[in-house]
Every structure is written in C-alpha cells, then in structure tokens.
Amino acid sequence: MDRQEKIRNFCIIAHIDHGKSTLADRLIEQTGTLSKREMSDQLLDSMDIERERGITIKLTPTRMFYTFEGEEYTLNLIDTPGHVDFTYEVSRSLAACEGAILIVDASQGVEAQTLANTYLALDNNLEIIPVINKIDLPSARPEEAKEEIEEVIGLPADDAPLISAKEGINIDKVLEQIIKKIPAPKGDESKPLKALIFDSYYDNFKGAISFVRIFDGEVKAGTKIKMMETGKIYEVTEVGVFTPAMKVINKLEAGDVGYIAASIKNVSDTKVGDTITLAENGAKEALPGYKAVQPVVFCGIFLTDGSKFNDLKDALEKLKLNDASLTFSPEVSQALGFGFRCGFLGLLHMEIITERLEREFNLDIITTAPGVSYNVYKTNGEMIEVSNPTNLPNPVEIDRIEEPMTKLHIFTPPEYVGAIMELCKEKRGEFIDMQYLDKKRVRMEYKMPLNEMIYDFFDGLKSRTRGYASLDYELIGFEPSDLIRLDILLNGEICDALSLIVHKDKAYQRGRGIVEKLKKVIPRQMFEVPIQASIGNKIIARETVSALRKDVLAKCYGGDISRKRKLLEKQKEGKKRMRQIGSIELPSEAFMSILKIDNDE
C-alpha cells in the first residue's frame, strides 16, 4: 500500500469551552502517544495565559499512531486557534489538512465561531466529521444538536459519534471515522518540494522554526530551501515531527506534517501561509491563499516608570520574535512620556500581549484606549493613516475621514433579537439580514464600524443576551464617516493619552460617560481636580474630584510600628501604579477604564 494512504491530516473545530483541548488529550491518550502518566491535563496548551483563561489560542501539532483493522495509520492533529482575531491563521491550518472534526456541544448547539470556521474548512475542501460532545451532561440534547448541524450548516450528521471527551466515551468511534472518512494526502514525492507554513515559532538555539505540511516532494537536513514570498534562501539544519515534543527525523515527504529549522533569524521570515520550495529548480507556483497579516487594533503602551523604556523595547522585540503579527513603533505622549504605538490582530491579541508584558517581563505598563487606524484624506489631496488620536490633523485640513468597517454575524436565541438590535443601533450598526435557522436560533448580520465593535460591544452583547449569543466578524473595507477628536482635560490641561476619535453624534454621550467614569477612578488629591471633556475649544462635560478627606487618626506606639510601616509600604506599592500627570496622580487603569463604560450608567 502507498505510504500516503496511511496518513490522515486533520484539525479540530470547536467553539470556546466545547471541549477541543479535552478531545485532543483523549485522542493522544487512546492512541498511546503518551501514557496517562505523561499527560498533564490539557497537555497541548502551552502558555500560562491560555491555561488560566481556559481558552486555547494555539495547540502544538501532534503525530499519533493508531492501528485500525490490522493497519497502522499516522494521524497528524493540527490545531486551529479558537478566536476570531486569528482567522487567517485558522485558514492556513485548515489548508494543511484534508479533514476536520467539528465538535458541537450537545446542550449548546452550533455557535457563530464554529460556523465561521466550518465555512472556512469547507472553502478549503475539507472533509468534515461532526462529533457531538458532552453527552454525559444532564442538559445534553444530542438529537437536537444533530438536527442543528444538518439545518444550520447543511452537513449530514446522522452517524455523528456521540461522545464525552471528559469521560472518554466513544473516542474510538472518532478515530474510526478519521480513518474511514478523511481522505489520505495525494502528494507527489517526485515533484519539487512544496511545503505550507501553517505556524512558526522562535527557538533560542535553532532560530525561527516553520511548522509545515509537505504537499509535494521531500526535505531533509542540508536541503537548500527558498521562501517563495520573501525569496530568501536557507539551508535546512533539521527536520522533524511532533510527538508532541519535537523529534528529529531523517526526512519529511509529501503528506507529512512536521517542522523545518534552517537557522532563520526572525519569524517574520517564516510567514504563515508562505510556501517553502527548493532553492534550485523549485516549484513554479506557490500554494494558494497567502495573505500579509495586517494589525487592525492599535493602542499606546507606556510605562509607569519611564526610566525602563529600554526594557519595554526589549520585551516587545522578544515578543515580536515569535509573533509576526505584532507591530510597534515609538511614540511620545505629553502625559505618559516615551512609549510605543502597537498594532494587534484584535482585542484578545492585545490583551494577551499586554498581559505577557506584565507577567513575563515584569513591566508595569499603561495602555491607552484601543482604537483603529483611520484613512484621513487631507484637503491637499494627501492621505494619511491615523491610529493615534493626537495625530489627527486640524479639522480645516481634513477633507474626509474613512473608518474601517466590519460585517458581523451574530447567532442568538430568538428572545434576544430585540436587545441585540438595540445594541447594534447604539453602536452605529446597519442591519443587513436576519434568518430564523430553527426555533431556537437566529442568525443576524450587521455592518458596523470596527471602532464601535472594539468599544465594549462584545461585553454588551454577552450581558444583554446572558452569554447566549455568539459573534464573528470580518473586515469589509473603509467608509467615510463624520469623526472628530474628543479631548479630556485634567485640572485644565489636555491629557493627550486620554484623547479619542469618535463619531460626531456620539461625542457628547461619550464625553459625559468618560468624565463620570474618571471621577470614580481618580482618587481624591490634596486639592480639587476638575475633569472636562472638550471638542476643539468647547467644553461639553465637567465633573470635579473634591480634595482629599481627612484620615481617621489612630495611635501609634511601640507595638504598632512594624504594622504601620508595612501598611505604608503597601500604600506605596499602590502608588507605584499611579502616574503623575501634571500635578495629578492617575491610576494606570484610568486609561483603559474609559473604554468600559456601562451603558446603564
């Protein structure tokens, strides 16, 4: 039998919490890839943050062996990041596979994110195996979940395995379907090398390592390779597979999943979606689907302690080594000093990076409110991209401003349709379409400015639908809009780090909301502090933080001194998180908190 006949390359598609990592763990266990003892729970999530949040951004690929009807098969599991910020990476992971397992929660049914990724999988011509998970829960309604898969996605789900990944029920059925239903790879070993990079990471010793699926040809140590997008040429130092630990092997051939190391200095040279071929007599055409990744959400990152600027720079450079989609350039703020304007794939991506800066690099950072990049057309015919509100030109120089737009897909039980429509309207959303998929599920489509979407929309959606609605979005280009800059003044002086670009019709409401919120987060100072919101020179809202109240006076004798000093030290620590803006002390959360204003307030 042909070598490739015994290979199955697949991925798992699932909504957050529907059990992707758990099923992956069970597959690894059942195939004996790792013994139970070697498994730490949810083995494949590597970052602390992923574990803590219970979400999986990226799993390590894994090779497993499974004997079915007397034949030993190689199963390669490639993961897809489970968040909308990483849609492009998902599409490349899917492109590396022939099939996908679609996990649907037996009690919750199909979610927006699942659907979006399933469509992506269908676009990549993947064979999809629906699996109903969590059948052990009392609220499970597997038959309805099956119906939903058939009605909503249009996939036959008759023989979908009913499993419990947690309890290890029917995992062998999943393995059987992987072998029976997913097509074997059909590459040509004799053609020149064609390998798709579906992920990459930076190793301190081996350099940037490409995770690849070999479509045609073969590669081994010593092979001279060429990155078709960048044209750069390297000599392979090592190839290997994932067991899931990386293990060196002799060569990778058509149909295989593995890694290639070639002393590459930077992950921006191992671009996800790029094709690796031979340096000489290589493939004529690259594999389809490569896209340059563009950041869509931006914010300023500064330090509470300005003297550590170089530490921040080093930290960002280190993160960038492993994350080609992160962008940053130096920025100076009057209020916050030297920092960087950083670009991210989305809000989750931003949160992950900022959290890693704090946790892994021990930096006390201040992030300004996230925003998007606008296309500003000036009266002199010039177009500039503006992501920092401070850089918005004088209104008389502006001809028009265009903002990035998104198309939203929202899935919800019918009872929340009204609440969602209201929320979308508040967020300048434009209704496109609505479809009743079945009795329990409605699909809504909206067009909405990206800026509105990143501003508290997801939280609002969750709270107004009690978590039942799910959301997916795609970028659909730029449209002109009536935008202005809203400034915030503290003690009469503009604090540039708090400026925002907002729609004219919402400026008053936002200004009001921000000054009220700031009144709550700014502690009383030794003097009274006015907080104002202004457009141009016009003050549109004002609040005042009254002067510091007197403390309760306590005694302090011999036995109290240690305790008092420790209290003082604690207060000092608290103060470290404060940023001196002019004569005012501002807690670093203030800069982000202005973004999260409860609509009820």
Partner: protein, 358 residues
Amino acid sequence: MHIPFCESKCKYCNFVSGNFSRDIQEKYIDTLIKEINSYKIQNNVSTIFFGGGTPSILTAEDIEKIILAIKNNFKISKNVEITIECNPNSVSLEKLKKYKKLGINRISFGVQSLNDSVLKLIGRVHNKKQALQAIKNARLAGFKNINVDLLLGIKENKNIFQDICLLKKLGVTHISAYMLILEKGTPLFNQAKQNKVKLMSDDESVEEYENYLKVLKQNGFNRYEISNFCLKGYQCQHNINYWECGEYIGFGVSAHSYMNGVRYSNTENINDYLKDFNKKQFEKLSSQEKLEELIMLGLRTKRGVSLKKLAEYKYEPLKNKNALKLLSVGLIKINKTHLYITSKNFGIANQIILKLVE
C-alpha cells in the same frame, strides 16, 4: 511591660489580652521576671511603661516584684518616668498609694468616654462615676501626672466642653484622644457589619475630632502629637521615645523591642510565651526602612522630624522633589532643626508621609 490580663474583653479590642486565672497570672509574672533577668546589658533606662491589658488588675506586690527585677538588671535614670495603665474600677485609693511608693509617677486611665451608654456599648466594665472617682483617688494618692485615654467616633458627644473642663478640674494633665478603628474579628466590628450598632461615619468622626481639638486647645492641652495632648511640661517621655525612633525593650507576650536597628517581637500566644519566652521573631531594618520609620513617626509630632537624623540617611528635604512640592503648597514646613506638618494638616498626615517616602 505587657500585662495581658483583663476583667473582661472590650468589644473593640484586638490586643493580646483576656481573663485568666490567678494561677496563670502568677506563672506569667515569674516568666516575665525570667525574661527581664535574661538581659545582661546594663542599658540606661529612662522610662518604664506598664501597658496591657489591664496592669492594675495585678496586686501591688506583683508590680513590685517586676520593678525590682528591672532595677536589678538595668541602670535606672534619676528622673525615670514610670507609667501604669489602670482601669478605673480596678484601682482603690490604697492600691494607688502603694503604686506611688514603688516609684510609679504617672497614671494612665482608660476612661474612653464620660457617657455611660457609650461605655456600655463598647463593653467597658466601668462607668462615668467610677472614672471620676479613680482620677480623684490618684490625686489623693499624690500623683501629679495623670493621663486619660478617650475614644472618639462612636456616638456624637454633645458635652465635649463640659467633659474636658471637668477632667482638667480633677487634675488630668494629659489626654490621648484617638478615633475608634474597627478591627476585624472584634465583636464591635461584627455588630457594625450586621448593622446592629450604628457608629459615626468617618466624616462625622473627623468633624467631632475637630471639635475636640478646639476645646482641648482652649483648656491649655497642647497637641504635641497627632493624638496626644498635654498641659505644659507633661509630655509622655515614654511615647516620645517611640516617635523619635529610640531604642526600647518590650517584655511579655506580644511585646516588641527595637535595638540596634532590629525589631523583635515576642510570641502572641500566652501559652507559648510561658513555655519559652525567648521565641522571638526579628526583622533587621534596611536603611531605607529606617528612614521611612523616622519620617512616619517623626511627622506625627508637632516638633517634627529632626533634619540631622534625616541627613544621616542622606535625606535632604530641600533637595527632594516631593518634599519641595509639599513645602511649596504649605502642607509641611521647615525650621532650623526640624521638618514638620502644620497642625491644621495633621488630618492628612498619612498622605503627606506617603508622598515623602515615595
């Protein structure tokens, strides 16, 4: 000298104290004396303070034994100040006379309030009448230096003026007035949490404190520390030593000491103490920590913190950004020898101190 015995525990108290049998009391005094005897250093002692708890619960003979032990092990200054804390209902005229004979020259009464309903609310075992009688007895026994502790912020006191005048008339020379702090785990804390008692709000307490300040000043009680007031010449030497970061040795359960830049603390468990009084924890202060304490404690006093001592830690207010800022807005002042908080800004002392040590 920490004496952890009380007739009953007050509802706001989180000190190491309680009602123990005479048997335990005797063992405790023995252990205390052993601890005193364990010190071989012949330091010069200028103040002795019996605190608690309720030291006056012990017999005068108990106190005498302890004082003798101190005299045997330490060199005592000629003008030594010896204070004993007394609960108004646990000292008779006779006992006070014995104290006087032992060389005790300062009495501190835990009066707390001259309102019987307040005293009951906070679980004190005495009443107004007993308090006034105790002060009179102290005078009769020959004490010239008498302190009373007052606890504010429980219920509004409409008789501040009358109260202070009366205390002065009876011969009180020193008043410690501090605000109630609800300590976690105390009965009063729990009652307040469950809304079973209604105490004054922080803002109301501050306002009341300010009324006290006025009346105390009118009566010649000079505020020489944030919560301490006295007639001319009656400052408490013992406490001044704390605020000047001087050295001291504490004996007894949960007692603290400060020697050679190290803070020691005895165990907080009386049984552990009886078993092994030498089980001390200690913490060596860094010079930054010493500086912080110097500022934190010194600025509590009217006199302020000594510039000379600050200079030992290379702290020069006129070269410090934060100090200059506070000086420029008048929150702190400086004279030839000291840096100090102006009296009207004592209420925000914590914030000022924080700013200075930032």
